[in-house]
């Protein structure tokens, strides 16, 4: 217990001092996860909307697959991306392995199914409510899908946030494709894992604290946006 409180006070001191190493690690974490979520959002929302509104053979199977992929184990994604990007792999030429970009790629793959599947569910629910009215007004296909996505945009914030939570919290994928290289690809989660095994608890704890605070702040912001939108738009 004593060592825990000691570690905690040292962790707080570390956060308060604005340690440069700590700052760099937090910043890289944010850059990687936000970039991955931005990419996954860009791809996932249209994909989810298309799956919700479209009617084509194999759609059911695709929906089941997408839902299953929400639970992709990060280490497996890391392994696959590693194999693709390693020197002998099909994309080895790009020289991306052990760079932040590789981490973005891995996290995008991890987060894409989450955002797409949650978007599909939300759009499909809305479509059930709106379909007749929109068709009566002459909206179909892409127009209808865009109208739906825009109308439920504040619900989709939740989907994007779920993706961000997943990205910022995972350690397996970024560890494998990033390599946890000091000053290059070291992010919060990989540092926590490393420092804990090395016994440097204050640094691990300080990062853990920041990670939790970030997640809480993001969720609070999203809840606020949603409530404000609900009041304003109904």
């Amino acid at each position: 217990m004593d060592s825990l409180s000691q570690a905690a006070s040292q962790a707080l001191a570390l956060v308060a001092s604005g340690d440069a190493t700590l700052g760099a690690i937090v910043l890289l974490s944010l850059e990687v996860s936000l970039a991955a979520v931005a990419l996954a959002t860009l791809l996932g929302l249209p994909l989810g909307a298309a799956l919700a509104v479209g009617r084509f053979p194999g759609r059911r199977a695709l929906v089941v697959l997408l839902n299953a992929l929400m639970g992709l184990p990060p280490v497996v994604v890391g392994l696959i991306v590693y194999l693709m990007l390693s020197r002998a792999g099909p994309l080895g030429e790009l020289g991306l392995l052990f760079t932040p970009r590789a981490m973005v790629v891995a996290q995008t793959i991890l987060v894409l199914p989450i955002i797409a599947a949650l978007c599909r569910q939300a759009v499909e629910d809305a479509w059930a409510e709106y379909e007749e009215q929109l068709r009566s007004l002459g909206a179909s296909g892409v127009t209808a899908a865009l109208t739906l996505v825009w109308d439920i945009r504040f619900s989709l914030v939740t989907a994007v946030l779920a993706g961000l939570g997943r990205a910022s919290a995972e350690v397996g994928a970024v560890m494998i494709v990033g390599g946890n290289i000091d000053g290059v690809t070291r992010v919060m989660t990989t540092t926590i894992a490393l420092e804990t095994s090395k016994g440097d608890l204050p640094l691990a704890l300080a990062l853990g604290l920041i990670l939790i605070l970030l997640v809480i702040a993001l969720n609070a912001a999203a809840a606020y946006v949603k409530d404000a939108a609900q009041r304003r738009y109904g």
Partner: protein
Amino acid sequence: MILPLTVEAASFVAGGRTIIDRLTAEIVAGPSTIILGANGAGKSVLMRLMHGLLVPAAGTISWTGENAARRQAMVFQRPVLLRRTAIANVIYALKLAHVPSRERGPLALEALESVGLASLARRPARALSGGEQQRLALARAWALHPEVLFLDEPTASLDPTSTREIERVIQAFDAAGTKIIMATHNLGQARRLGDEVLFLHQGRLVERAPVEEFFLRPASPEAAAFIKGELPWV
């Protein structure tokens, strides 16, 4: 003019159950047509077939002129409004109807005025009361200047005051030359707004008569039983 509308031996089947059974009718311009019948008689389905939201399993439904889908509108029992301002909902419909953007604002405002909602134009549509929402749905239809207006029990979930306002707007449509085709449960409303009655029973057109004659001297036993059931004191 897209009327007359010819329904020729149209059938509709859902889940193995025949909802509309080889129904033939010609709907002409002029008299307001009321579709009556018990729950499950097929009123809503018949209107959706006519409006093109459903496709008949057998038989045909044919309008007279070109581009008929664009020259009709439908107001549902529960209005589906987008999460934007009242006027933006009307403008959205005008945009889908390819009205030039300069003309949309003035046309939308005029439509809101005609249903008495001009003062609420900037309010979020979903924050309006049930009666106001239904009037907004009528304004959205009004702006399109349809030749035919379908109404599916438009006042079924409204209080008497809201119902009176809705009926006034429907009469204004009629006065402006729009053909009214309405399903209702409210026999008083049928007499106030209708000129002729199409009476459905188990998916078949059992009787067709001018409103007063239908209520005074129903020709079929089914219609007589229906009127007696709905107005047991007569």
